[in-house]
C-alpha cells in the first residue's frame, strides 16, 4: 500500500512540476520546477530499487546539470528573459499541441495493446552499487571508458564554443 501511495504521490508531483517546466514564463522557475521533477524521478528510481542510478541521478541532474542551467540563466539575465521569450506563434502552438496529443495517444495505444506483456511479477533485481558496478566494469567496460572520451570532447567543445574571441 505504502509503495503504491508513494508512487502516485511522486508521479503526480513529477507531472505537475514537468508541466510547470514547459509552461513557466520565467526560466528560473522552469529550472527550479525541473529540479523538483528530478527529485521525484529519483524517488521513483528508488521505488524501482535502482539505488545506484537514483543516487547518480540526483548528483548529476539536481547537483550539476541544473545548477549549470541556473548559472547560465542568471548569467544571461533573467528579467529581460521573462518578457522577451513569448511562446511560439499560434500556428506552431496549434500544430504542436495536435502533434503532442497524437503522440500521446499513440503511446497510450501502444501501452494498451501491449498491456498483457507487462503483467509479469517484478523480478528480484536490485540495482545496488555492487551489481551495477560489476556490470559496468565487466560487460560494459569499453563503452564505459569511451564515455570518458565523450565527456572530454564535450568539455573541450563547450570551452571552444563559449570562449570569447580575442579580437
Amino acid at each position: 500500500m505504502g509503495e503504491a501511495a508513494a508512487f502516485y504521490f511522486f508521479a503526480a508531483l513529477s507531472l505537475i512540476s514537468a508541466l510547470c517546466v514547459v509552461n513557466a514564463k520565467n526560466p528560473v522557475y522552469a529550472v527550479l520546477s525541473l529540479v523538483v521533477t528530478m527529485f521525484c524521478l529519483a524517488a521513483l528510481f528508488v521505488l524501482l530499487k535502482a539505488f545506484f542510478v537514483a543516487a547518480v541521478h540526483l548528483l548529476v541532474y539536481a547537483g550539476a546539470v541544473l545548477v549549470l542551467f541556473l548559472f547560465v540563466v542568471m548569467l544571461l539575465g533573467v528579467g529581460a528573459e521573462g518578457s522577451a521569450t513569448p511562446a511560439a506563434g499560434p500556428v506552431f502552438r496549434v500544430f504542436g499541441t495536435v502533434t503532442v496529443a497524437a503522440l500521446l495517444a499513440e503511446l497510450g495505444l501502444v501501452l494498451w495493446l501491449a498491456a498483457d506483456h507487462f503483467r509479469s511479477a517484478p523480478e528480484a533485481t536490485e540495482g545496488t552499487l555492487e551489481a551495477v558496478g560489476r556490470l559496468l566494469f565487466r560487460q560494459y567496460l569499453l563503452p564505459f571508458e569511451v564515455t570518458s572520451v565523450l565527456l572530454l570532447v564535450g568539455i573541450i567543445g563547450a570551452v571552444v564554443l563559449a570562449r570569447r574571441e580575442p579580437a
Partner: protein
C-alpha cells in the same frame, strides 16, 4: 503492487510534455530543459523495464544516457551563450542563419 505500465504511462506523459515544451517555447534554455525532460522520461522507462525484466543492463544504459545528457547540456549551454552573444537574445527565431 505497482505494475510496469504505470511507470510506462508516466514516462509517456513526461515525454509528451517534453515534446510540447520544445514545440511551444522559443527560448533556447527552455528548449534544452525540455530535452532534459524527454531524456529522463526515457530513463524512467529503462529503469522500469530493467526492474520488471530483471536485467540490470537497463540501469547501465541509463548511466550512459546521463553521460550523453551531461555532454549535451554543456555543449548546448555553450551554444546558447554564443547565440546570446551574437544575436543578443535567446530567441530561436532570431537564429535563422541557415535560412535557405
Amino acid at each position: 503492487m505497482i505494475g510496469l505500465h504505470h511507470y510506462l504511462v508516466l514516462s509517456a506523459i513526461l515525454f509528451a510534455a517534453g515534446v510540447y515544451g520544445i514545440l511551444s517555447r522559443r527560448n533556447v534554455l527552455l528548449i534544452l530543459l525540455s530535452v532534459e525532460l524527454m531524456l529522463n522520461a526515457a530513463n524512467l522507462s529503462f529503469i522500469a523495464f530493467s526492474r520488471y525484466l530483471g536485467d540490470l543492463g537497463g540501469q547501465v544504459f541509463v548511466f550512459f544516457t546521463m553521460v550523453v545528457a551531461a555532454c549535451e547540456v554543456t555543449v548546448g549551454l555553450a551554444v546558447a551563450i554564443l547565440l546570446y552573444r551574437t544575436r543578443g537574445s535567446l530567441d530561436t527565431d532570431q537564429a535563422d542563419w541557415l535560412k535557405g
